[in-house]
């Protein structure tokens, strides 16, 4: 149970913070941390636990966003249905990518995922009749919970918290259950796992599909929260990298890591934007330079991420306390 304490503290403080602080800027930051944390945790299911490094996860995010936006604007349906529809389509694409993951390894798989997100980007920006093309879709604000037209940012915090906890529980399942151990075996040595009778191929496909569905759900919520879907953003490689970055900074293949990573990355981004993004937006790219360098530095010196680093210090401290 003690292993769960940090996560309990993290999620409980996220749940209680809106009751204490009413500052819109702070709540907005919290919503974004939970949103990006959930996407990173979803990416982590495929990238961290199953070892299938994808740089095309924005494909799923965009499908969710477009699902909510198109169902909402075209047929005036609830974004919740759009979320489900987007997640269903994302799962179907996840099946295809999962199939590919059984044929392609390493850099080939990465390239294939990029190609998928690029095809969807081009589809989203060029298929004007269905997606409104490159102008994107403004998502209308319809008040109410069912239509996700919520002015109160506290509600957003709690909705996203529910998804964040769901993503965390999936990760926890992968850390505790037999299936999770099998998936770890596949990640470390697929051939060895196969020879021991682990259904490696099926596990990888399922992991990618779960990851895809969760990412799509985040995309639908994001579209509703921000109110605008731009194909060049929601399907971009940059967005895919953002998911991966938060997971890597926090700790690949750890349950809480992606959330800590997202908290750090989002905070740094907000700070740098406020600091340098001002006049003329000349330094708008500054935070991305920091991102890029952080990525290089993290994978080289802290491949275990924040969670690994803190964990190592903790254990060393604990060992020092017990041994006289």
């Amino acid at each position: 149970m003690r292993a769960l304490a940090p996560a309990a503290v993290f999620f409980a403080s996220a749940a209680l913070a809106p009751l204490v602080v009413h500052d819109a800027f702070f709540l907005d930051g919290l919503v974004l941390i939970l949103l990006w944390g959930t996407t990173a945790a979803a990416w982590n299911v495929a990238g961290g636990y199953a070892g299938q490094i994808s740089l095309g996860h924005s494909a799923f995010f965009g499908l969710g966003a477009y699902g909510a936006a198109i169902l909402g604007t075209r047929w005036e349906l609830s974004p919740w249905l759009g979320l489900v529809a987007g997640a269903a389509v994302a799962t179907a694409i996840g099946l295809v990518i999962g199939y590919l993951s059984n044929r392609l390894r390493g850099p080939y798989f990465v390239l294939a995922t990029i190609a998928f997100s690029q095809v969807l980007l081009l589809g989203g920006s060029r298929w004007r009749a269905f997606t409104a093309g490159s102008e994107g879709i403004p998502v209308p604000f319809r008040p109410g919970f069912w239509t996700l037209g919520l002015v109160d940012k506290r509600l957003w915090v709690w909705i996203l918290l529910a998804f964040a906890v769901l993503a965390y529980l999936v990760a926890l399942y992968l850390e505790r259950a037999r299936r999770g151990y099998q998936l770890a075996a596949v990640r470390e040595d697929e051939d060895a796992a196969l020879s021991l009778g682990v259904p490696a191929r099926r596990l990888k496909v399922v992991a990618i599909c779960v990851s895809a569905a969760l990412t799509a759900a985040c995309g639908a919520l994001w579209a509703q929260y921000v109110g605008f879907v731009d194909p060049f953003y929601v399907f971009s490689i940059d967005l895919s990298i953002r998911f991966a970055l938060a997971a890597i900074v926090g700790g690949l293949g750890t349950a809480l890591g992606p959330f800590l990573g997202a908290a750090l990355v989002t905070t740094v981004e907000t700070y740098l934007r406020a600091e340098f993004g001002g006049i003329g937006g000349r330094f708008i790219g500054t935070y991305l330079i920091v991102y890029g360098c952080a990525l290089i530095v993290m994978v080289r010196w802290l491949p275990q991420g924040l969670v690994g680093w803190i964990g190592a210090r903790w254990h060393r401290g604990a060992a020092a306390r017990t041994t006289p």
Binding site: I53, L104, P107, F116, V119, A244, G292, A294, L295, V299
Partner: protein, 293 residues
């Protein structure tokens, strides 16, 4: 059918530059087993070098080209020593994210330094058009093609006949065995990386007079290069050149038949299809080394 000669010429002109970009990428993959996700950013830097030299020093882009070769090599060598070298024996994830990090950092460095505005390099002879046998083409395109083909051929000759090229090929075949034969593999990797960057940087200089230059300009070309490299078989230089020709054909004839709006979709779908049907490329052998790492 009067358009056919024009289409063929356009295909060839396009293929030359694609080949130069793809050859550098496939060389780096073949020898170092690293997919360089920052390849497009080095192309973009080459483009800015040409634009900057033209704007401030009044350098003709083809003079810049000569200067760009040593600069590209130096930039490549330094980026290997600083960034790639330390992780060259790391896992795939580490390598992928290091080059991705490099890509983001360089792209946004360009954004901060040069802003997002598209820049154009317009030489006096920009609008000069040559007409041969019913096909019209632009001088900048022809020069780009000729230089790209010459550089690619030079690289092939270097790999084929020079001692260093032989050493690089040996390292590509078996890095452990070549290390045992006394080859300084780290130096070979540095050299390979630098040569690959030099190629793509030169391609950037050649493309600058033809295409608008902006911080993410490299992406569209490098996506094509990825397709070419996979199509030709990762690490196969001849395959990459043939694949560049295939993609240019698909792009030019595809745009002619179904319109330019969907040409990228066409080659990306071709890419996915190839990955599914023949992941080792059209001509490649499905080797455990390249696929099962």
């Amino acid at each position: 059918m009067h358009a056919i000669p024009q289409l063929i010429v356009s295909t060839l002109l396009l293929a030359g530059v694609y080949a130069l970009i793809a050859v550098g990428l496939t060389l780096i993959f073949g020898v170092m087993r690293v997919v360089n996700f920052a390849h497009g950013e080095f192309l973009m830097l080459g483009m800015y070098l040409a634009v900057g030299a033209f704007a401030f020093l009044r350098f003709d882009p083809y003079l810049t080209l000569a200067v760009s070769l040593p600069i590209g090599f130096a930039v490549g060598w330094m980026s290997y020593r600083g960034v790639m070298g330390p992780i060259i024996h790391g896992s795939h994830n580490v390598q992928v994210f290091t080059t991705v990090g490099l890509s983001i950092a360089l792209q946004n460095l360009a954004l901060v330094l040069f802003t997002a505005d598209a820049r154009f390099l317009r030489t006096e002879y920009y609008a000069v058009v040559v007409r041969v046998a019913g096909a019209a083409f632009n001088v900048a395109q022809i020069v780009a093609f000729v230089v790209a083909v010459a550089l690619t051929a030079g690289l092939f000759a270097f790999m084929r006949w020079s001692y260093t090229g032989k050493v690089m090929r040996a390292t590509a075949q078996d890095r452990h065995a070549s290390a045992l034969m006394g080859i300084d593999t780290d130096r070979v990797y540095a050299l390979t990386w630098a040569v690959g960057i030099t190629c793509v940087g030169a391609a950037g200089v050649l493309l600058a007079p033809i295409y608008p230059v902006y911080p993410t300009a490299g992406l569209q070309f490098v996506l094509i290069a990825y397709v070419a490299v996979v199509l030709g078989g990762l690490g196969d230089m001849v395959g990459a050149v043939i694949a560049a020709l295939v993609i240019a054909t698909v792009e030019v004839f595809g745009s002619y038949v179904i319109g330019t709006a969907w040409k990228e979709v066409l080659y990306l779908l071709l890419f996915i299809a190839i990955l599914i049907v023949r992941p080792a490329g059209l001509f490649g052998q499905r080797g455990a080394e390249a696929l099962g790492m």
